[in-house]
């Protein structure tokens, strides 16, 4: 493909970068990133990936936009309340950058659909922007089993965390956290609250990882866990190693299929 003059101008600040250039921008335009969850993390991640010219962005969410989402889920506007988040997200992206093809999946991920969704467009990279442990373990296991790199993240109150998984390189999320905590043992951000900007910081780091992966530049957060404390304004990068007894990514995995963990009851009734 060759660039139109409009594209050269739109992506000029990228093309000027030695690590990107015209070749890198072409890679971005040909890349496909799947974002699971279009909330606090997924919204900013989707917007920056769209602005960067990621050619195909998949959005997965069954939720509809509520007023209480708008304090942090910046892809949705006040007029979008009541609308499905994937549709609202697609509209915002389409208005921002016509180069981006948005594929929407109006569903929750489960063991029965996640592999099909990942394979639907043969996505290059997956972003976990979900807000619950069953989905996080499901995404980890599905990405390990289908050999897809992905970015994990979570935010609550003034805290955020993120790590990146690369196929066959480990560690995966399950290496660190063997299984989900008991339902209701950990508060969700609905109950505990979350500073609106947390998704902006951490979701944008996830988008950065996706972009670097596509470009093949720099060092990714694989083998590390990055935590962010906004009150102390402190980042910590903790080195991790693979768990040789990991249930999913070790040489002798005990899990061979996907698991639908139980969701806390209160989480099942929308937001």
């Amino acid at each position: 493909m060759s660039f139109t003059n409009e594209q050269l101008e739109r992506y000029s600040r990228h093309i000027i970068l030695k690590e990107v250039g015209a070749k890198g921008q072409k890679k971005l335009l040909e890349s496909k990133v799947l974002i699971i969850g279009t909330g606090g993390l997924g919204a900013p991640a989707a917007m920056f990936l769209a602005a960067a010219g990621v050619g195909t962005i998949g959005l997965v969410d069954f939720d509809v936009v509520e007023l209480s989402n708008l304090q942090r889920q910046i892809i949705h506007l006040t007029k979008d309340t009541g609308k499905h988040k994937v549709l609202s997200g697609k509209e915002t992206i389409n208005e921002m950058n016509p180069d981006v093809n948005v594929v929407t999946y109006k569903e929750w991920v489960s063991s029965s659909n996640i592999i099909d969704i990942i394979k639907d467009q043969d996505y290059d990279f997956v972003i976990d922007g979900t807000d619950n442990f069953p989905a996080k373990f499901l995404i980890n296991d599905a990405c390990v089993l289908s050999k897809k790199p992905f970015s994990h993240a979570g935010i609550i109150r003034f805290q955020g965390q993120t790590m990146t998984y690369l196929p066959d390189k480990g560690p995966c999320y399950r290496c660190i956290f063997q299984s989900p905590p008991p339902p209701d043992a950990v508060p969700t951000c609905k109950k505990a609250g979350v500073l609106g900007v947390m998704g902006g910081i951490i979701g944008t780091i996830q988008a950065t990882e996706a972009i670097k992966y596509v470009l093949g530049v720099g060092d990714l957060l694989n083998g590390y866990f990055l935590t962010y404390d906004a009150l102390k304004m402190e980042f910590r990068k903790v080195k991790l190693s693979s768990n040789k007894n990991c249930g999913v990514c070790s040489e002798n995995p005990t899990l061979t299929g996907l698991i639908d963990y139980e969701q806390p009851q209160c989480e099942l009734k929308g937001n």
């Binding site: 660039f3 030695k18 015209a22």
Partner: protein, 81 residues
């Protein structure tokens, strides 16, 4: 000087910074390592900055010629990057 053999040519006299360098970068990425790109640019800011930016990226500026009509022609050999 103009007998330097070039493999590609681009005229960036119709654009301003940063599109001058953007268009030059796109053109140089389209040729092979060791090949030569001939770039026609305006005097002033473009001729001050574009050759310098090309050098910073690892390319070799072979020659700069003042065309006498407020434009310059720069020959640059693509570096191994």
């Amino acid at each position: 000087m103009s007998e330097i053999k070039s493999d590609a040519y681009i005229d960036i006299t119709d654009v301003v910074c940063p599109m001058t360098f953007v268009k030059t970068k796109v053109a140089i990425e389209d040729i092979e390592n060791g090949q030569v790109l001939e770039v026609k640019m305006n005097e002033g800011e473009p001729v001050l900055n574009v050759p310098r930016s090309l050098k910073e990226e690892g390319h070799k500026v072979i020659s700069v010629e003042n065309n006498g009509d407020r434009t310059f022609t720069v020959w640059v050999k693509k570096g191994d990057i």
